[in-house]
């Protein structure tokens, strides 16, 4: 059991070339030398994904009835999974966008991976709104398009907001991720041995050649997209939160939902990043790039987000009693003592109690413990969504209509299957693309190594400047002729 020492965000002794090869050579491993572990992992993930295929097949042939949903519990696993996956999706954009704006350079070694994770999580999440429809083949009714009925979607419905939010989120994250990849794709192009690999990477890299002109436009756009992505992340989960806050179901009808859902999303997102990175950094020997600092920082973010979530829970309970609304009160009491109370207490333990361990440095730096905690938080956040959605619906206003929900095998297979889909995509990503942003690592190497670099004339003012540097008025003018 290794106990990590205080470490920098990149181990010393690295050069541009060393980081480049360390990262780029992983996907470039010749097919014949593909690691067995990877193949095994992919096969396993793929097998699990087949469960999804089976469950969805049954769903489309038989109808929603194969799930456990009923009246009054019209939403259950599908929506729980949807919220859960979307939540996980938030870490990626958050890490790469917000931390970029905040100039947290430790992000560079994890953002690429986190963004990929975001994409795959969103892909999973996006499945459910369609799957949970009674008539999924008519999903396009939710989108505005010219139709022979002369009808529009009902723009007051949060579900339509969802459609827009998720589409936007998926597309923007994709672009953001791809933009980040372009310079690395060029590297891949240049390092690839196989001619076909070369060609593909070459096309994908759009002809990137690292020209100063490229860099200036590129960095400017990258920063702007980060600026766009940040409010986007927040809006997306706020809207997901509104799906519930908008309804008058006791246990849903609460104004704190949007912020508290966002916090929950970040919380679970970071948990998932940890869950995945801790084994991966070991497997791919990335300990130099993803150091104890990274893990610790993420643990800290988790802790703080966990506290925000805890505050959310507390406020919900407080309001239920303070408002004097008998329905809210009854609903809260049912959470404490009702049929689903074990799940409720379970989520409290997983999301509020256990994360408090992260106050201790020892815990934060104990990789194994950290891994376990992150797993627990993942589970806890799933339970949270389950309790919010199912428990609230199962006991609303008229006792005559109360009815509990129990999942069927198809509910479970669908959920497990999406994990398979997620892992499959993840494995493929690791095999063909650099999982860490190479050019940013090079930059990092250069910056960290800067103090002992040879002092070149004017090198300092270059350093002093915030980049992408704004040229002074004069320079700009003189540059007129320059192009």
């Amino acid at each position: 059991m290794e106990i990590l020492e205080q470490t920098p965000i990149i181990e010393p002794g690295h050069t541009s070339l060393s980081v480049t090869s360390a990262i780029a050579d992983v996907p470039l491993t010749p097919i014949r030398r593909t690691p067995v572990g990877w193949i095994a992992g992919l096969l396993l993930a793929f097998a699990i994904m087949m469960a999804l295929l089976y469950a969805v097949g049954a769903l489309f042939i038989e109808g929603i009835g194969v799930w456990g949903v009923n009246a009054p519990v019209g939403w259950a696993f599908a929506i729980v999974n949807f919220v859960w996956w979307i939540g996980i999706g938030h870490a990626g954009t958050l890490i790469s966008a917000i931390l970029l704006l905040l100039r947290q350079d430790w992000r560079t070694s994890i953002n690429r991976f986190a963004e990929a994770m975001t994409l795959f999580a969103v892909a999973n999440a996006a499945l459910f709104p369609i799957l949970h429809l009674g008539r999924p083949w008519l999903f396009f009714y939710l989108m505005p398009y010219p139709n022979s009925m002369g009808l529009w979607p009902q723009f007051r419905s949060p579900l339509v907001w969802d459609v827009f939010a998720i589409t936007t989120y998926a597309l923007v994250s994709l672009l953001f991720w791809y933009m980040g990849l372009v310079p690395d794709l060029a590297t891949m192009r240049d390092r690839a041995k196989n001619i076909w690999a070369k060609r593909i990477y070459a096309l994908a890299s759009l002809g990137w050649r690292g020209s100063a002109r490229h860099w200036s436009h590129y960095l400017s756009l990258y920063l702007l997209m980060a600026a766009l992505a940040t409010p986007l992340v927040i809006s997306v989960h706020s809207i997901v939160g509104m799906d519930f806050a908008y309804g008058l179901v006791p246990g849903w009808h609460s104004t704190i939902f949007p912020p508290y859902f966002v916090a929950g999303a970040v919380f679970s997102g970071f948990a998932m990043v940890l869950t995945l990175l801790i084994p991966l950094r070991a497997a791919f020997h990335w300990k130099d790039f993803i150091t104890a600092r990274h893990l610790e920082n993420m643990a800290k973010v988790m802790l703080s987000m966990g506290l925000v979530v805890a505050y959310g829970y507390l406020m919900e309970i407080f309001n239920a009693f303070y408002s004097g609304d008998i329905f809210e009160r009854a609903n809260t009491l049912d959470r404490f003592t009702g049929f689903y109370s074990p799940l409720f207490w379970g989520l409290i333990a997983a999301n509020v109690v256990i994360p408090q361990l992260l106050w201790f440095k020892g815990v934060r730096r104990n990789v194994l413990v950290l891994f376990v905690i992150s797993l627990i938080v993942n589970v806890g956040m799933w339970l949270e969504r389950f309790v919010i959605i199912v428990q609230s619906l199962s006991k609303d206003f008229l006792p005559s209509s109360w009815h509990i929900y129990l999942p069927t095998i198809y509910d479970i297979l669908t959920y497990v299957g999406t994990l398979g889909l997620f892992l499959t995509l993840l494995f493929l990503f690791l095999r063909v693309l650099p999982a860490i942003s190479i050019f940013e690592m090079r930059e990092l190497v250069h910056e960290t190594g800067h103090h002992n670099a040879v002092a070149v004339e004017n090198a300092t003012d270059g350093k002093a400047q915030v980049y992408p540097a704004k040229p002074t008025k004069k320079e700009a003018d003189t540059a007129k002729g320059g192009r």
Binding site: L142, P153, F397
Partner: protein
């Protein structure tokens, strides 16, 4: 449906009647469908016989039909040939008059319930009867109906009906039968070996024919038997008056009612009428006099009991003691029990109340109680002077029946097993199932050479019969019947027998040697003989139009002797230990409706149980025996025993197991297959209703019961607002105590034009469920089956919530019918992403099925949980015979679509179009929802709340009017009239 208001109905009916007559003479479009019976090409033939309907069916094919479980199997052969989505139109060759395509035609007719006639109006579209409602002109219904009446269309189109004459399991024709009959009747001689077993028979024409038969075969015997026949009532009368008179009650005059185990709102003949009269007197603000008061002492928790002001559940055997105590206190010559009786605390107050009510008092005894209790009841009524006012005695409606059904059946069984019976003819009866266990009727049947059964389906009796003749449904055949008060009404067919069924009239005619006699001629000839004077053709036409023969109600017995109670012995010794108690089932009666999916899935009024019956126990009894819900119990009575699943029901008497009849049937369809437990296995002819000495042992396995209502109490939410009359007089505004004025961010758009709204009067609602089935029938609502009900996926658009108040051992019950509230600020609409549910200008919360994608968000967000979702493809498109059942004015919903109450928007639209065509506004009461029409107590009123003079508006202006969960700001268009009970202040109900 164009309209339900009488003035417009009358001409329609006359026209209909004319129509009937003409087609009977000329070979017209109305040709017989007999050949259909065997033809696999049902659809094709239909197209020839009913061109108009066929053109409809063409488009209807893809519109889904209502599902009968397993029916698809039954009709597999048939459906094979049904073209999906025909694109042909087949016009008439010669158009019939009065039949305008797409306009419904109403026929006045009669349906039977255990022999007693109930006047109905049958709605037909394109020659297909699709809806049955009460006939306002008929005394037994006054336009109201009950669940059985409402469920008849499904029975008519049930694909599992007997479709051809069966002889030892081989298909034969009517011709074959009559030939065989010819040789058979040859050696009947005096008819010594001939027996006829029928259900209760009130039909004058049939009785007349029986007379003829018995004249022809003097030694033949005719036995009438029904497991729920009025035996003790008649026997009781015999006891006190020396004659088996039949009591008829008038609740409109009753101020104080004491019911001795009498479920008069359900089990008595005339219960629909009783419900109406009773309901009218339940109004705290009542046009006709004071609010009535009902005391109920009962041996099982009944629907009537749940509506009582004072209710006491005791062992049925204890009720006689109570009755005697009352009688004694009223000074009748009867040996009162020494010491306390059950209900002791009531006695003084009750007798005082009865005394002060005098002729306004009404004491009735239930069929479950022995003759003695009936005798007491009659005597008390007479002593109070109520006879002639609230109760009258008439000659038995089932002419010549003396209330000896069980003994008669017993004798018959003995004769049969002794081999004395050579030919047994069975009409409208299923003795192989309904006969008490001790008669061993099945074995006895084995001893009879020829058993000829007129059967609806291959039921327990039919399969054992040498000849099973398909019976014509009462909607397919001609006949007549007498109502609870003796009024005679005509049964006229609305469609030719789908499967060539024969009516009882026709079968008896065949026995009399007229194999080809047609029911129509038999009936008409009979009545021609009866109705002397005047142009018969006219009279006949007129009475067909009305459906009722005027002034035929039996006259009260003129010189009723003073009741003598010395006929009855001493009070039987109080039985200790547990008692088994039987009751007719609230959804399948005595078992004749067990193959009806609508009724099977209908939640029973109190237990909310579907698809099964169960052994009901009170919580106390259950704890004593350490029994939990769903435990399999073994019930030992004497040497017999049976298994049944336990269901714990607050309000049931202690030390009693209540079991309803009609379940556990084995033959006769796929819907009745393995549902419930057969009470007849431990029921004896000696004690058909209750018996002491019950031993209950707990079986090992568990049984899953499907209930639609898993919670008992209201959790202190003011859902059903009710109080006592005293308190109401003090605070008439009680229904609004602590109600906050719901405010809205969005201004109130002022209502112009029609504003549809509904008012449901909780004082009137008796929880009978008629509205539920009426809605199902009107709106093509599918049934989903037991396992789906267990998953909470039942589809009823209107449900009746039942809550318990007070303690679990002495609960009080409240009912609350819950349709869609059509909220003006509908929470469901704003969350629908595709505008599938929106608001009409007239305030109806619309549901556009073809736009719905099934997110179920609306259902989640509906605080009333009235939205229903098609989790699977519940509608059955495959069953050809079911197609005709469909209401063509309502889209049937496919898989993945949300549905809910629409205020019968199809009726609203129809009325609007009609009114606009005639350039007039829609009159108040012109649009009536299906539930409103069906309601026997007129608890549901629908109309335009913008019209200050409309009935619904007047109700909504009452201080009692309140909206369910109105604090949520939903502004429901459906509101309730708060409940006011009228308990006796002298009696302190211990909780």
């Amino acid at each position: 449906m164009t309209t339900n208001s009488d003035e417009q109905r009358q001409p329609l009916d006359l026209a209909a009647a004319r129509q009937q007559l003409r087609e009977k003479k000329g070979k017209d479009y109305w040709r017989s469908l007999n050949e259909l019976a065997n033809s696999p090409e049902f659809e094709k033939v239909i197209e020839q016989e009913y061109p108009r309907q066929a053109s409809l069916l063409g488009t209807l094919n893809r519109r889904d039909f209502l599902k009968v479980l397993g029916a698809s199997l039954a009709l597999a052969g048939l459906t094979a040939c049904v073209p999906q989505g025909s694109d042909k139109i087949l016009p008439y060759v010669k158009p019939p008059e009065v039949l305008l395509p797409g306009k419904p035609v109403l026929f006045a007719s009669t349906v039977l319930q255990d022999g007693y006639g109930q006047g109905v109006l049958i709605t037909t579209t394109m020659g297909r009867p699709i809806k049955v409602d009460g006939n306002p002109k008929h005394p037994a219904t006054l336009g109201g109906s009950d669940v059985f009446m409402q469920a008849l269309p499904l029975e008519l189109y049930d694909p599992e009906r007997l479709k051809q004459v069966m002889n030892q399991k081989t298909a034969k024709t009517w011709g074959d039968f009559t030939n065989a009959l010819g040789s058979l009747s040859g050696n009947w001689g005096q008819g010594a070996g001939l027996r006829i077993l029928s259900g209760m028979t009130t039909s004058p024409s049939l009785i007349d024919q029986m007379g003829a038969l018995l004249k022809k075969y003097p030694q033949a015997k005719w036995v009438q038997f029904s497991p729920v026949a009025r035996n003790n009532s008649l026997a009781g009368a015999n006891l006190v008056f020396g004659q088996p008179y039949e009591p008829v009650y008038d609740f409109s005059k009753a101020d104080v009612i004491l019911s001795l185990d009498c479920d008069f709102l359900f089990a008595e003949p005339g219960h629909v009428r009783y419900g109406r009269d009773f309901g009218v007197r339940r109004q705290p603000i009542s046009a006709n006099g004071t609010m009535n008061r009902l005391y109920m002492i009962e041996g099982s928790s009944t629907m009537t009991g749940s509506n009582a002001d004072h209710r006491l559940a005791v062992k049925p055997s204890q009720i006689e003691g109570f009755a005697r105590a009352i009688a004694a206190r009223l000074g009748l010559a009867v040996t009162a029990p020494t010491g306390d009786v059950a209900g002791q605390p009531w006695l003084d107050a009750l007798t005082a109340d009865l005394k002060s009510a005098g002729k306004g008092a009404l004491v009735l005894a239930g069929e479950r109680q022995p003759a003695a209790v009936h005798a007491l009841a009659y005597a008390i009524n007479q002593a109070l002077g109520a006879v002639g006012n609230t109760v009258n005695f008439i000659a038995p409606v089932a002419q010549g029946y003396a209330g000896d059904g069980y003994t008669a059946l017993k004798t018959l069984a003995q004769e049969m097993s002794s081999g004395a019976v050579d030919t047994l003819v069975i009409l409208d009866s299923n003795p192989a199932y309904t006969a008490p266990a001790d008669l061993d009727f099945v074995k006895a049947m084995g001893k009879v050479k020829n058993v000829i059964t007129l059967a609806n389906a291959m039921d327990e009796t039919a399969v054992l019969s040498s000849w099973a003749i398909p019976a014509a449904h009462s909607m397919e055949s001609w006949g007549d019947a007498r109502a609870f008060d003796g009024t005679i009404s005509i049964i006229q067919p609305t469609i030719e027998p789908l499967y060539g069924g024969k009516s009882a009239l026709e079968l008896i005619a065949a026995l009399l040697g007229q194999p080809v006699a047609r029911g129509y001629d038999l009936l008409r000839t009979y009545w021609q003989g009866q109705l002397k004077g005047g142009d018969f053709a006219l009279t006949w036409r007129d009475l067909l139009g009305k459906g009722v023969i005027a002034d035929t109600a039996s006259a009260p017995i003129a010189s009723l002797p003073t009741a003598t109670l010395n006929g009855m012995g001493a009070l039987p010794a109080a039985a200790s230990g547990m008692e088994i108690v039987f009751e007719p089932d609230y959804t399948v009666w005595d078992g004749r409706f067990t193959n009806n999916a609508w009724l099977q899935e209908l939640p029973k009024p109190l237990s909310k149980l579907t698809w099964d019956n169960a052994a009901y126990l009170s919580p106390a009894t259950a704890t004593k025996l350490a029994i939990t819900d769903g435990d399999m119990l073994i019930l030992h009575v004497g040497e017999r025993n049976m298994q049944a699943a336990a269901s714990i029901q607050p309000g049931q008497p202690d030390d009693v197991v209540v079991l309803s009849l009609g379940y556990g049937r084995k033959e006769g369809g796929s819907v009745l297959a393995n549902s419930g437990f057969n009470a007849n296995l431990i029921r004896t002819s000696a004690a058909p209703w209750f018996q002491s000495g019950l031993q209950v042992t707990k079986g090992r396995e568990k049984y899953t019961l499907a209930t639609t209502h898993e919670h008992w109490t209201m959790e202190n939410r003011d859902l059903v607002r009710s109080t006592d009359l005293e308190d109401y007089k003090a605070h008439p505004n009680f229904a609004h105590d602590g109600e906050e004025q719901a405010i809205t961010l969005y201004g109130q758009e002022e209502r112009t034009g029609y504003a549809w709204g509904m008012s449901i009067n909780l004082n009137s609602c008796i929880g009978c469920n008629a509205c539920v089935i009426a809605c199902q029938s009107e709106n093509n609502i599918p049934t989903v089956g037991k396992d789906q009900v267990i998953r909470g996926r039942e589809m009823h658009w209107i449900r009746i919530d039942r809550y318990y108040k007070g303690s679990a051992n002495r609960p009080r019950f409240v009912y609350q019918p819950v349709p869609c509230m059509h909220c003006e600020k509908a929470p469901c609409e704003v969350v629908c992403p595709v505008e599938a549910t929106s608001h009409s200008a007239e305030g109806i919360n619309e549901m556009t099925y073809n736009r719905c994608v099934g997110t179920r968000y609306c259902a989640n967000n509906c605080p009333y949980k009235v939205r229903r979702f098609n989790f699977y493809k519940y509608v059955d498109e495959n069953v050809a015979s079911m197609r005709a059942l469909r209401n063509p004015d309502v889209t049937a919903r496919s898989r993945g679509v949300m549905e809910k109450c629409t205020y019968c928007v199809q009726r609203v639209n129809e009325a609007r179009i009609q009114a606009e065509a005639e350039g007039r506004p829609i009159a108040d009461g012109e649009v009536q929802t299906a539930c409103q029409v069906a309601c026997p107590t007129q608890a549901i009123v629908f109309g335009n709340i913008n019209d200050a003079n409309s009935t619904v508006r007047k109700l909504k202006d009452l201080p009692l009017n309140y909206g369910l969960l109105a604090d949520l700001g939903t502004q429901p268009r459906t509101t309730y009239v708060a409940q006011v009970k009228n308990p006796n202040p002298m009696i302190k109900e211990e909780a």
